[in-house]
Symmetry: C2
Subunit: 584 residues, 2 copies
């Protein structure tokens, strides 16, 4: 019998240290029921461990919270403590935290309260608001592992680097200036290149709505924590869907801004310097207006003077106003907004709950009086291939290095693989050209819709799935094309919650055509058509049963750098969908 | 005796066809004097071949021209013909054109005149304005060779590509929408990677002010043509100084905008897809306000909806106004603007005329009441090394391919070389990280000047040389670091004319210290200090004599994406310098 490898023990020790960082008063004494016995730990389940005041605070959205904290009605300390408590519970239910530093957070909250007492004014627009961060951001006296065992006790894997525990990422600096309170860092899959969240430290981050399913990835810890209201909002990153997927899998809003709007400066990353498709930072939250609050607040810090890759593009109120004017015009009965609808990307057939979700969206848009057109863009197969090449640019050199630090085994869900070939400069140049040409084709297609919309303009955005499925069954996330094409195009995109998978509603019709059957092929493996599909051969059980209750989101995609417009519309449309689906 | 290679004959045939495209009425019948006999062909020399009306039109700047053409006082045809004539002369003097299509231009001008007659209004803000273009832009029925013999009769070297003569670059489309008239394309060095303009088609593009010197590069044809007022303004491109150098060498203004402001879509390029340092498009012109006119007009076409790499960043009048307010405040005696001054980058010592030019700039700034501080940024050696790696990324694969099409010999002035090694993905990623870290250091330094300026802000920009020398002696341009660092940083930068080299003024003092001597080392080879210098061993003659009369410009550098501010200040400061140096 061989001894367990060292890296496993190191990972376990770190996992235990995270639990140990939770104050004993917030440690659950009772055994947590199994996922099968208690799949859903949101809502009433988690509330049983909280008092009324804590529930009131943690179930307020960030806009309401800062209304209280910036006016002195709620103290930073009470808000921080409530979220720390709820985050502690969340982690114990679904394993969503990499770092816990509640003591430092409460000390910081005390400083903010003292500031308010002295100045009779808040430090900034986020005064006293707890904000969670994906474990890529460096915070003083806090570790960053990004899930790598080999990064424990180091600075990004470098054991003797003096920056270890000593530096803060630019976003962290700005959040502190804004008055936010940092209190935890959330889990990620090692490499960040996965739609599930798994690593050799915290294990697997489960979906709070159904703990047999994934919380998504790579910002899966953010998704799970915010779904449980252990955070009112946080920041993740997205190179292929890593903000939008966990937002969608957890009934949240999540913004993937275009490159250059949010400061990445000083954050850890995978394949740092790969610049064919750049990872971007963006917020996740239960409400669209929280995304706006966080995004706008960060921009008020002028990141372009501190991050060389950030664009000098302040929040544009004028675009918000123009957009609201269009909404108002639509309310008078005159069609002023138009949207594309793309339920199928030509690659991955979607499950019935996703199809139903998009139908609900379309119904809402039409009820609101907007034009909806079929979205028939240039082949998404091409986008998917371009993205795949970009992610695999270095042939796995970086991930081999990082996993090699400890000798740990890469989780099977990681979509990049080691042992590939490094692309050379002229190949990368050709890839950049191919990507630009694809972007140009897509742009021309977008422009061409002006003749179909009736508004005199091309569509204002379009809707499509976030994934072929709702919050996924572990190991079965194999088609990421519904999110990666946005990264190829560098478009603005927001996840909007829609509904939940329902085994009673999302059933196959008694009689369906071959074409219709294609759409259901992955749902119960009843059909065997020759199209590219997810291989569910190892899971012959009833998917409809397994997915029951899983959140279903949609993706709302806008043009590049149109965050103000897309956030404004996401708030408007999301509220209407919620009303229509009785989510609200 | 071996036959001359085919490529030489092909290049000569193309050179002859350019001359043949000039109407015989504009062909010079007399033999043009040698460069030694008539070095300066600007001003009175070229005027002798033009009538009063042509001189009036061609010596008006673009702002004055469009005031006439958009109000119907001047016709598009008369303006176009005047510039065609003067461009024809310019080419015969200094070899600055790759393509001549005056007939098509005059036909187009007629259409514009008809439009005006019908609508009593101009087609756009550039109605009837001739605009010259560097030979990277595709125009229908016109060839693009970029100086390569192997591109003659092809689309970017591809003989059977149906786009040959059939497509137009995005900038061309926008200029036509704006009412501009296209009539010629200007010379470039093959590969675009040289501070001189030379190729196997048109030979060498000489400096109109002194035909023994270079017009600069790579937009050297633009520089020479505009210096002779054969164009009121045009567009070049800049990956290492290729707009600013020919502007500076020809007493012109030239803008190197940050990446993403001007549309590169559909233009030919070298090493297309290399995206560590991107080439950018920008205008050159005799006046700063022409740069603004051209830049602002193009932005009015919303290139971001047609070029996937263009940023949605319209012309910002508010920044112009803020800047003018600061200027106005300075006029009241209260210091409101502050500038850095960097006469030496730590690599290449500058010649006396350049040093004197910067002293003149500093005197003007002080006369205007502005604060001037020493600019002591992070090492420019590092920037220079980063740029060198980026330019050589593919080990010369692209240039080998392009020269190989015809078998032609690369001109020795090309700074990239074939036979190198292609960098691999992880090396390129490391280079991107190193570049970003350098940008961050520079940014932090810039921010740090806030404590020195007395304005409450960091410097508003800084001044430095464009090159160690004035318009250069052929083959002696060996230090490009004064311009390439800007491309590494992606800063906004404008060339501003200052003075002319003067052998009577720019002399060595009778007694100088060793330190002072360093600054003069390349001037007359009298000193032999151990610093990195230009090797002038093959040119022991008196440089002061050779450089006499060569234009001396300065470079004014602003932060990234601050084109509105920098153009506004360039116009203000440039006018003040001109007043002070009696240029005006």
């Amino acid at each position: 019998m061989t001894a367990a490898p060292t890296w496993r023990a190191q990972g376990e020790a770190k996992r235990q240290s995270i639990l140990d960082a939770i104050p004993s008063k917030w440690r659950l004494e009772t055994v947590i029921p199994s996922a099968a016995a208690q799949p859903d730990v949101t809502g009433d389940y988690i509330r049983q461990f909280l008092n009324e005041r804590e529930i009131k605070i943690t179930e307020s959205d960030a806009v309401d919270i800062v209304a209280q904290t910036t006016s002195g009605r709620w103290t930073a300390v009470e808000v921080t403590e409530a979220f720390c408590h709820r985050a502690a519970l969340a982690h114990q239910f679904v394993s969503c935290l990499h770092e816990v530093f509640f003591d430092a957070a409460i000390e910081h909250a005390k400083v903010l309260d003292a500031y308010f007492a002295e100045h009779k004014a808040p430090l900034g627009p986020l005064h006293g608001l707890p904000v969670s961060l994906k474990d890529q951001f460096h915070i003083k006296d806090v570790e960053t592992t990004m899930g790598y065992v080999g990064w424990i006790g180091t600075f990004q894997g470098k054991p003797t680097d003096s920056r270890c525990g000593a530096v803060e990422s630019e976003l962290v600096r700005e959040l502190r200036n804004l008055g936010a309170v940092l209190y935890c860092k959330t889990s990620v899959p090692t490499t960040l290149m996965s739609g599930e969240t798994i690593n050799n430290i915290i294990g697997y981050t489960w979906n709070p709505k159904n703990r047999l399913l994934s919380s998504g990835g790579s910002s899966g810890g953010e998704g799970a924590l915010i779904a449980l209201r252990g955070s009112p909002g946080g920041f993740g990153s997205d190179i292929g869907g890593s903000i939008r997927i966990p937002a969608g899998f957890n009934s949240l809003y999540g913004l993937r801004p275009s490159t250059g709007r949010m400061p990445y400066q000083g954050a850890a990353n995978s394949m740092d310097g790969q610049n064919v498709i750049l990872s971007v930072i963006g917020p996740l939250a239960p409400t669209a207006r929280t995304l706006t609050l966080l995004f706008k607040s960060v921009l008020s810090q002028e990141p372009w003077y501190h991050d060389p890759l950030a664009l000098e593009l302040p929040w544009r109120d004028s675009i918000v106003q123009e957009t609201l004017d269009l909404v108002k015009q639509a309310e008078t009965g005159k069609s002023a907004l138009a949207f594309g609808m793309m339920p199928f990307d030509g690659v991955a057939r979607i499950h019935p709950p996703i199809a139903r979700g998009l139908e609900l969206v379309e119904q809402t848009l039409k009820r609101l009086g907007h034009k909806v057109i079929d979205w028939c863009p240039p082949s998404h197969v091409e986008a998917h291939e371009l993205a795949g090449k970009a992610y695999q640019l270095d042939g796995g050199t970086d991930l081999k290095l990082q996993f090699g630090l400890s000798g740990e085994a890469p989780p099977p869900q990681i979509i990049v693989k080691e042992g590939g070939t490094e692309m050379i400069a002229s190949e990368i140049a050709a890839l950049n050209v191919a990507k630009r040409e694809y972007q140009k084709k897509y742009m021309d297609y977008w422009n061409s819709t002006a003749k179909l919309t009736g508004t005199g303009r091309p569509v204002d955005g379009f809707f499509c799935p976030l994934a072929p499925h709702a919050a996924v069954i572990p190991t079965q996330y194999e088609q990421t094309g519904y999110t990666t094409f946005v990264n190829v195009l560098d478009y603005t995109s927001v996840s909007i919650p829609v509904t939940f998978a329902n085994k009673f509603v999302d059933v196959l019709p008694a009689e369906i055509s071959a074409t219709e059957a294609e759409a259901y092929i992955d749902w119960d493996c009843k059909f065997d058509l020759e199209i590219e599909t997810i291989d569910h051969s190892d899971n012959e059980a009833d998917d409809a049963e397994t997915y029951h209750g899983a959140p279903v989101g949609t993706q709302f995609v806008g043009r590049r750098l149109q965050e103000e417009k897309i956030l404004t519309l996401a708030e408007y449309i999301g509220a209407a969908i919620a009303r229509d689906t009785e989510l609200a």
